[in-house]
Amino acid sequence: MKTDVIIVGGGLMGLSTALHLARRGTKVIVLEKQSSGRHASGVNAGGLRQLNRHMAEIPLTVAAAEMWKNIRDLVDDDCDVELNGQVRIAETDEELQMLQARVDTLQAQGYQHERIIDSAQLYQLVPSLVSGCVGALYNPDDGSARPFHATTTFRHKALALGAEIHNGVEVLGIEESNDGWQVDTNQGVFSALKIVNCAGAWANRFAEMLDESVPLTPKAPMLMVTERLPPFLDVVVGAVGHKLSFKQMQNGTVIIGGAHLAQLDFEREQSTINFRDLKTSAQTVAQLFPSMAAVRIVRTWAGIEGFMPDNIPVIGSSAKADGVFHAFGFSAHGFQLSPVIGRIMSELVLDGKTDLPIEPFDIRRF
């Protein structure tokens, strides 16, 4: 099968890239080895967070936030976006000073989206928080969305714009041809002028085929969800001194993350929940939200995601192969970036450049 662009990986990044390319009239085929949203894209915590990101990601996250605000314009659906803010709690004055220093750095560069709130403002936002916290980093425009819903919506929009999405197609090899690339799969050969690698935790398999292996580590961060509770929390809560992501969904359930890892059998794509580590998450919640003590945990799970050693993604053109581009290794905080990544990749593919600063994400850094 022949097309303009092949995208390897039907997760959120691949689908976003597909829909942006298709919007500009490009013929796109997405090759997904399983089904969209099967791993990290579908089962992540759904945080729309600009707060506390790596400095290199700031221009991207700010651009992405604008896109989420108007996500209906992009995909004709709201993806269950809720923008009620995110806070990062300081429990001590030292922690608050660290946050203040960050805000100062950002403001020196002209970014106003993160700011410090005092304890009175914090308790107004998070009344159920244990007493004694001194303040927080706050962004009122952050929030969350439902990841599987978003993935589905992006897929539908990409399809509506004419993209082709093939599930159950695993890429086995790639070869340069006269006018582009031939991708060998378990379902035959696909060819295209250009290729985009959005294969997430599996992206290095593809990079290896191009002889540009990167130190990507697949990991499976664990999440848990509680029974439904009456509404008590609008903002998403993190903390300086704890690994925590804590939010109440619209249906009343509370999703608790903390980046603790499940045991991962990558070959079999199966993870085993590590309750010894998940216990730490439960202790953090019990400590910061005493009213949660008797709340029932209904389910735990883990999504398989690709991590880079410096915790920022690889975005840009291949160092080894002309017409091949990468967008992977989002290290468990790619969900919020997904709309802008699609835009960036479509610009790289079609225009050869983008106006957003992506130099820090170059694959040549490894």
Binding site: S35, G37, G42, V43, F148, H149, T152, R155, H156, N167, V225, T226, E227, N251, Q270, T272, I273, F275, R276, L278, K279, A282, Q283, V285, A286, M292, A293, A294, V295, R296, I297, V298, R299, T300, W301
Partner: protein, 466 residues
């Protein structure tokens, strides 16, 4: 109470299969612990067998007393026993998450035998979630453990031997049975017939069924056969049952409807552990893939009794012993020949006992439409209140297996962990997509398979880390 954290063998479930497995292993000197969710041994079939008064035991029938022998042998074996344990996790490394008296802890074992038994097949028919509509098994539990019977009479509906047994037990207890509605299609009889010669080798099962039926008819209980369009009607709670019988719409007023559509393996534990499962088209349920010795696809985990596929209490006992001997071998206390010799009789008896199954499965098979084509407005997932039309819409939107549909609709994501809708969802999706149930798939089961509170997890006793 502080208990040991690692065991040579842990047996999960105190019904006939678990009791027999534990007794067998302990008798050969294996250190083993039986953990059970119930406060007393016996499982569902021999519930409260040790404590039930003589009068009620008689009411429950002679089979019930067989359980007492099993219990005596278990008590004499020296196997350890932990009652009232909630199991909330089992993983492929043979770690077990348990909850006892509010304390969560992890336990591990060299070998595990899952004997978690059966559960009633949940079937989403219109009105099945109304108060006053109960699974017949729940009615039987009340009768067995506390002698409770419905005061204002009852309608029994469904298919399967338990329905007749419970009706007979209620009859003995003086309960008014307004009617028995049999949903098994009349054609089942002809489909079952070829299996009759095999079944006759264990004719006592068939005689027993006939005996119940004769006793009920003699007492004037009204039977409706080949019932379709079963509906529970009511506002706040059940008021009546409506159904079609011989092309005529019928209505019976009743405050209580006990429904029963057969039993299926309780497979959440074995699925949580990652054991391979397959869809059994004869039993219409997910069941674990096991070898002749009960071993699952996960090293060191065996599954026996009804939890491995419905075979009844007698076959479960034999299977328990067979897996017991196999675990003794795996732990190095027997060689293969000793195991084969020791297990020979049980293997033969089990095979004989199972001969009746194809006949029973064909005879009591619920009609396909009842299982795979619930009406659009019938709730499939009662926890999340997801109806069949929502699932059909998700399929139309391009979701191609039950887990994608679960993600999209939240069907199966409630506190029951999908126990109630798993089977129905798999069949509905397979039917709607026109694919095998294996292709439609079953829910991936995530721990905790029983809810655990934040503070219980925060206080987890970790045990020996491996």
């Amino acid at each position: 109470m502080k208990h040991q954290q690692h065991h040579e063998l842990v047996i999960i479930g105190g019904g006939p299969a678990g009791l027999a497995a534990a007794t067998t292993a302990a008798n050969t000197g294996v250190e083993c612990l039986l953990v059970d969710e119930q406060a007393t041994l016996g499982g569902q079939i021999y519930r409260a067998v040790a404590t039930v008064p003589e009068q009620r035991a008689k009411l429950l029938g002679p089979d019930y007393q067989c359980g007492r022998d099993l219990l005596d042998q278990f008590s004499a074996s020296g196997a350890g026993y932990l009652p009232s344990v909630t199991l909330w996790d089992l993983n492929s490394q043979r770690e077990i998450g348990i909850l006892r008296e509010g304390q969560a802890s992890l336990m591990s074992a060299d070998r595990i035998i899952i004997a978690s038994g059966a559960m009633e097949r949940p079937v989403p028919f219109p009105g099945w979630t109304l108060p006053g509509v109960m699974p017949a098994g729940a009615g039987q539990i009340l009768l067995k453990s506390s002698g409770l019977v419905p005061g204002d009479g009852v309608v029994l509906a469904g298919a399967g031997p338990l329905l007749l047994l419970l009706a007979w037990q209620y009859l003995q207890a003086g309960v008014t049975i307004h009617a028995i509605l049999d949903v098994a299609p009349a054609a089942n009889f002809w489909k079952a017939l070829p299996h009759l010669p095999g079944a006759l080798l264990t004719h006592h099962y068939i005689l027993k069924g006939l005996r119940y039926q004769i006793a009920l008819k003699r007492a004037g209980v009204k039977f409706y056969n080949g019932v379709t369009n079963l509906q529970a009607i009511g506002g706040e709670s059940l008021e009546a049952v409506e159904f079609t019988h011989r092309n005529k719409k019928q209505r019976i007023d009743t405050p209580l409807l006990l429904s029963h559509f057969g039993v299926i393996p309780e497979s959440h534990l074995s699925r949580c552990a990652g054991c391979d499962h397959h869809w059994d088209e004869a039993q219409l349920c997910w069941r674990p893939v096991t070898d002749d010795w009960g071993n699952s696809s996960v090293e060191g985990i065996a599954i026996v009794g009804d939890g491995a596929g419905i075979g009844g209490a007698v076959a479960a006992q034999h299977a328990g012993r067979v897996a017991g001997f196999e675990s003794v071998r795996a732990l190095g206390r027997m060689d293969t020949k000793q195991r084969d010799d020791a297990a020979r009789d049980d293997k033969n008896w089990m095979r004989d006992d199972l001969r009746v199954r194809p006949f029973l499965e064909a005879l009591f098979r619920p009609p396909a439409a009842l299982l795979n084509a619930p009406k659009d407005d019938t709730l499939v997932c009662r926890c999340e209140e997801i109806d069949a039309s929502t699932i059909r819409n998700a399929i139309r939107a391009g979701h191609e297996d039950v887990n994608q549909i679960k993600f999209q609709t939240r069907c199966g994501m409630g506190p029951c962990q999908g126990r109630q809708c798993d089977n129905a969802m798999s069949q509905l999706v397979a039917h709607q997509l026109g694919v095998d149930t294996m292709v439609a798939g079953g829910y991936r089961i995530r721990p905790p398979i029983r809810p655990l509170t934040i503070e219980q997890l925060a206080g987890l006793e970790e045990g020996a880390s491996k």
